[in-house]
Subunit: 269 residues, 2 copies
DNA sequence: CGTCAGTTTCCACATCGTGGAAGAAATGCG
DNA sequence: CGCATTTCTTCCACGATGTGGAAACTGACG
């Protein structure tokens, strides 16, 4: 009753439900996400989510941690991933820069890219500093605008797309203690400032700074970031870190400009 | 009308249809598979396949090659793959062996594993010989029993599972010029012989020999293979190649026995 | 042993997907 | 070229299939 759109939608809404669920399953790292949480996050009634997840479970598209009863993505999706090598390998393209950033700062460094209405963690390097921020693992996703890296990605997109995405995500922001309004002004602030910092307390006690790579890599919005505990990322350190990020960003941008078409068909080695 | 099962199946059959389609999309390499072919292979009416694929297209789960009108897996699935790191990294485990095999023979070497009723190409090395067999790319799948590598995987499985799989695949074998009968006797022959050779002409002018790794890696049936043009793989050469494969297989088996739990959580580096 | 959050089953209802058929496009062939 | 053939896309009446509220169940915790 009262789906979301009342207009002549094109068929196969189940596909959308299933993929929403899978996106939520891949949203967080660790021992998996509980049924109830997934259902709520995907905007589905619990029994519906249950039925779909049960079907996905039978096909090995998701797994269930017997201890915590949490769902994670299953081997079938990993297998599909093998066959679905991306046309532009953003990950490989950014890897050297990531290495240098993590080495220079000693903190965790991340690359995120846009994936629909989400930011996706493409890669990560752990620095040498004893207290590491690992709130996000490779493959995790969160709504565009939630968290420093994600916000940097969002802010680098054309304004009309930003509007569309923020509207689409409006409901999801609540779960992160945000609103569409706050995200919109955070985008403004990011653009004015030239880089992004964490919006609110996404993960307590951690702070991040992030910088988008020009207007994307191969048409896909991308951002680099450094995340560390609050105490460590004080104003002075933010300044140095941003300078470092900007240097790497410019280097990557130069590379983009020189190479006619960034390396194609990267497969996953 | 007359689905396949008439019994009180558990819900969400759409999930099965969607995943069948995706499996077929990932079955073959190259510029993508045509709608009609996918529909037939997945056992769905064309309009149904069309609707589902259109929905998947809108969500970036599949892409369409504008030139050939063929479907391939899309970036969303690659992204899911990032988050769905397998518990046992068979690929990494077999990599050194693959390297050695390809180097020693000069031909293409493959690792396949079981994935449901399919064999999945996990990894591949190209040898130095000028004429290379590349019928199969990483991530491609075919029904268990079709092709040397796939047959070796199948034959290494317990007999009751073999029966179940062959029954389930019966309809699909036709599309490869095989029957359940022929596959069953090929399994017998493989077990008697100790290794598998290509069943019929899967890919014209090529021949393969394959050997399963004991009874699997971390519970998953796996096989190694070498594929070359027919002329090259004559009887004498088959003997040498099998000996080489067997040596590698024994080495891997020894490794498995020594390591308590083969490397966990391999992610995809 | 009672409470509660999370999970699973149930089932009457109607929505949503279904697939045959027919209309468009694209492709092949004479 | 223009007709024939294949492939793709849209349409739509039908009813099977998925839906989701409610209720039973499980087991963790106090």
């Amino acid at each position: 009753m009262a789906k979301q759109a009342g207009l002549g939608r094109d068929g196969a809404q189940v596909v959308h439900k299933v993929l929403s669920l899978l996106k939520e399953v891949s949203a967080s790292r660790g021992r998996g996400t509980k049924l109830t949480a997934l259902a709520e996050a995907a905007g589905l009634p619990v029994p519906t989510a249950y039925r779909l997840l049960a079907a996905l479970l039978a096909e090995r598209a998701v797994e269930r941690d017997e201890a915590t009863r949490g769902f994670r993505l299953g081997p079938l999706l990993w297998e599909f991933g093998l066959a679905a090598a991306p046309d532009v390998d953003i990950r490989r393209f950014c890897a050297p820069a990531l290495d240098r950033i993590a080495a220079a700062t000693g903190d965790s460094a991340y690359v995120n890219c846009r994936s629909g209405d989400d930011a996706l963690c493409l890669d990560r390097r752990e620095g040498s500093y004893p207290i590491q921020a690992k709130p996000i693992a490779i493959g995790n996703r969160r709504p565009l605008g939630v968290g420093a890296t994600s916000l940097a990605v969002l802010a680098s997109m054309p304004s009309n797309e930003v509007d569309a995405v923020v509207d689409a995500n409006a409901a999801r922001y609540r779960r992160h203690g945000l609103t569409a309004e706050r995200v919109r002004s955070a985008v403004e602030a990011t653009r004015a400032r030239g880089f992004a910092v964490s919006t609110g307390r996404i993960v307590a006690r951690f702070r991040g700074v992030a910088l988008a790579i020009g207007n994307g890599v191969g048409g896909v919005p991308v951002a680099l970031s450094v995340i560390a505990i609050e105490e460590r990322l004080d104003l002075a350190r933010i300044e140095t870190t941003v300078a470092l990020l900007r240097r790497e960003e410019q280097a990557l941008r130069a590379l983009l400009a020189s190479e006619p078409e960034i390396q194609q068909k990267g497969s996953m080695p």
